[in-house]
Amino acid sequence: SEMSKDLLPGPYPRTPEERAAAAKKYNMRVEDYEPYPDDGFGYGDYPKLPDKSLHERDPWYQWDQPDMRHNWGQPMHWDFDMYIRNRVDTSPTPVPWHIMRRHFLIFLSTMLIMFGLGGLYPSYRPVGPKQYPFNDLYLERGGDPNKEPPVVTHYEI
């Protein structure tokens, strides 16, 4: 059968009695219960649970639903399908976030700058100026056939 009206989520609680009733409805303590702010987005009296993913819950505890790491009657996060174990992981990282970001960006920027420098100063085998035959192509370059071409030696034996 369907849930009765008093078990469903309701409007934003304005008085302390309404807050206490809402906390009881969601199986939470009155001290823990904190609804979303009433700014027209339609949250109603749904509790604002901390944005922690299921990765942070104890993997070895005997949960009622082990895959969801959730006990019966426990209030679920509004964005629970974002915080399941296949999705976002908010567990604390060994290295703080700002250090991770900084080191990664340093690495990436160093690589890009060095690639740019490597493009400006490429590496190649040693090369010399090109040597042409026939006295530096004297006739092909429009030299006078009657005159004696200047002698060009490219080597010495």
Binding site: R87, V88, M100
Partner: protein, 605 residues
């Protein structure tokens, strides 16, 4: 004339032999598959595929066959056109040989698996998709194979679907491959609109191909072959069973991206920007993966990063405009990498599921065959002279040193080569030598021939394959013939440096106590912080924004702003502006009426 027919027929027969375990059980209830029947099928297909390969080697005959088109409606058809050139004819026997060995190994490794026949059918379906990809002459057929290997990869990585990490890894693989597919579809669209065909052919014009479709192809290769930027899925894919890692994520699937670039290299050769992009991307990938492999403790992850690094090296070769060398490296790499994975699988099973090398040691005495083959594989990976890896890796490094290219790319690739030696030696030292660190009652044995035969077969391949392939296949481009001694021996020297580094590090490990955390160690062991930064940041924002849109903003906009509240707001705004005019000054209004009537009467007069 008859020999060309023989080539075509035997290739098609090979492909048909592979299809029989899928088709025959559909026809009769009595013809059911078993793991051994599928293994034997692949073995027969391998032997059959040697015929066209031999024909190609001795006659140089290639062929392109465009068969029947599978027509759906008048305008849409799947053209079954196969290209049997040196790449597909050489890849066919190699892939089938490696798959046969892996399937034979899997009959032992997955022996306790209740759905073992389904596992083998999945591996077979993957093989069919991969062979379709490599023999395709039409980009559409290649795309079908491309997607096929992606889907089979998803199913096989998440084989133990009860495990949340396996599901996440499979999802990761599919998503990263999908991002690469965007690039592939982009280039397919450009090809269709500009050249009006999806057949792979020589370039039409000597002018430069525009950069956009080439960037699409490079993006596709980045996604499928785990280059830097779209790489996290490859280490995560180690959640799948070891035969899956050996087949998909070392020998066959991950080379599909590089294979695509080899097939389309005439387009790439025209555009130097695309080649430089390939070069730099490959160099960055190879160094990044090698750096990450230095501090990994899971044996499968080390081999996964090694694969990633070698894929980067293949990309570097593409960037040097040497597709044939890249293909040679694909072929030799398949042998020793599959063997490394099979050895690791044997070790893992023998230690009852232990994958951490810090808990292994002195396996040389307990598992002589496996560890000897592991050593052979590592030596081949490092490019030891005259093993398989040498014939492909050394020419690549030589061409790198003698080309006009980005200096930083050269330095990165050389550093990655030395790191390859370092992590390989580290793995060998921790796994095979020293005092044993594992529990005493481990079922270490090599009694089953289903374990030793594939591994020794692949070891033979790792030793001989380089020599065999290079003896029979002529190079299409002139390799650099002359270079100073230092340049010629760069690869060896750099590898020896890496080995010395590894020995020095192991010495330090034995002398010092607990290593202190330093930024470099953290960077390397956390895989460059790439995974948490990108995965958490993008998915949190995307999902948050998606939730906000779907649950709040849509309701807010359609039910409130577009409906009653919006109407009320508009009315309120209109009334607020017009109410300023309602000042209620009756006397002033009457005076203005009187004045205007007076002026009108005066004018009319």
């Amino acid at each position: 004339m008859e020999l060309a027919l023989l080539l075509n027929t035997s290739t098609l027969l090979t492909l048909t032999i592979i299809l029989t375990p899928i088709l025959l059980p559909l026809m009769s209830n009595k013809l059911q598959n078993t793991p051994t029947s599928i293994t034997h099928t692949v073995k027969i297909a391998f032997l059959m595929s040697l015929v066209p390969a031999t024909l190609f080697m001795y006659l140089g005959s290639e062929s392109i066959t465009s068969h029947l088109e599978w027509k759906f409606i008048s305008n849409f058809k799947i053209p079954l056109s196969f290209k049997m050139d040196q790449y597909s004819l050489m890849f066919l026997p190699i892939a089938l040989f490696v798959t046969w060995s892996i399937l034979q190994f899997a009959t032992w490794y997955m022996a306790t698996e209740p759905y073992i026949t389904k596992f083998f059918s999945y591996l077979l379906a993957f093989l069919i998709a991969m062979l379709m990809l490599t023999t395709a002459n039409n980009m559409f057929l290649l795309f079908i194979g491309w997607e096929g290997v992606g889907i089979m990869s998803f199913l096989l990585i998440g084989w133990w679907q009860g495990r949340a990490e396996a599901n996440t890894a499979a999802l990761q693989a599919v998503l990263y491959n999908r991002i690469g597919d965007i690039g592939l579809i982009l280039s397919l669209a450009w090809l269709a609109s500009t050249t009006n065909t999806w057949e792979i052919q020589q370039p039409l014009s000597p002018t430069q191909t525009p950069i956009l479709p080439l960037l699409g192809l490079i993006l596709a290769a980045t996604g499928k072959s785990a280059q830097f930027g779209l790489h996290p899925w490859l280490p995560a894919a180690m959640e799948g069973p070891t035969p899956v890692s050996a087949l998909l994520h070392s020998s066959t699937m991950v080379v599909a991206g590089i294979f695509l670039l080899i097939r389309t290299h005439p387009l790439l050769a025209n555009n130097p920007t695309a080649l430089t992009t390939c070069l730099c991307l490959g160099a960055l990938s190879t160094l990044f993966a090698a750096t990450c492999a230095l501090t990994q403790n899971d044996i499968k992850k080390i081999i996964a990063f090694s694969t990633s690094s070698q894929l980067g090296l293949m990309m570097v070769t593409i960037g040097l405009n040497l597709p044939q060398l890249a293909f040679l490296h694909i072929s030799t790499h398949a042998f020793f990498k599959a063997m490394l994975f099979l050895c690791s699988g044997s070790i893992i099973h023998c230690l009852n599921g232990e994958q951490d090398i810090r808990k292994m040691g002195s396996l040389q005495k307990m598992l002589p065959t496996t560890t000897s083959c592991l050593t052979i594989g590592n030596l081949a990976l490092m490019g030891t002279p005259f093993l398989a890896g040498f014939y492909s890796k050394d020419p690549i490094i030589e061409c790198l040193n003698t080309s006009y290219l980005n200096t930083w790319a050269l330095l990165l690739t050389l550093m990655a080569t030395s790191f390859t030696a370092t992590y390989s030696i580290r793995m060998t030292l921790l796994v095979q030598t020293g005092y044993t660190r594992m529990p005493s009652a481990s079922p270490t044995n090599e009694n089953n021939p289903a374990v030793t035969n594939p591994i020794t077969r692949l070891a033979l391949g790792s030793i001989m394959a380089g020599l065999l392939i290079t003896s029979f296949i002529l190079p299409t481009k002139t390799p650099p013939m002359t270079m100073p001694t230092l340049t010629k021996t760069t690869a060896i020297l750099v590898t020896i440096l890496g080995i010395m580094l590894a020995l020095e590090l192991s010495n330090m490990t034995h002398m010092l106590t607990h290593p202190k955390q330093n930024p470099l160690l953290n960077f390397s062991s956390s895989l460059g912080y790439f995974n948490p930064l990108t995965h958490r940041f993008t998915s949190t924002n995307l999902l948050h924004t998606g939730q906000k849109f779907a649950l709040h903003l849509i309701d807010l906009s359609w039910y409130k702003k577009m409906g009653p509240q919006g109407l009320a707001d508009l009315q309120l705004m209109a009334t607020k502006t017009s109410i300023t005019l309602h000042t209620g000054l009756i006397k002033a209004y009457l005076e203005s009426f009187a004045l205007s009537i007076l002026i009108t009467i005066l004018f009319l007069h």
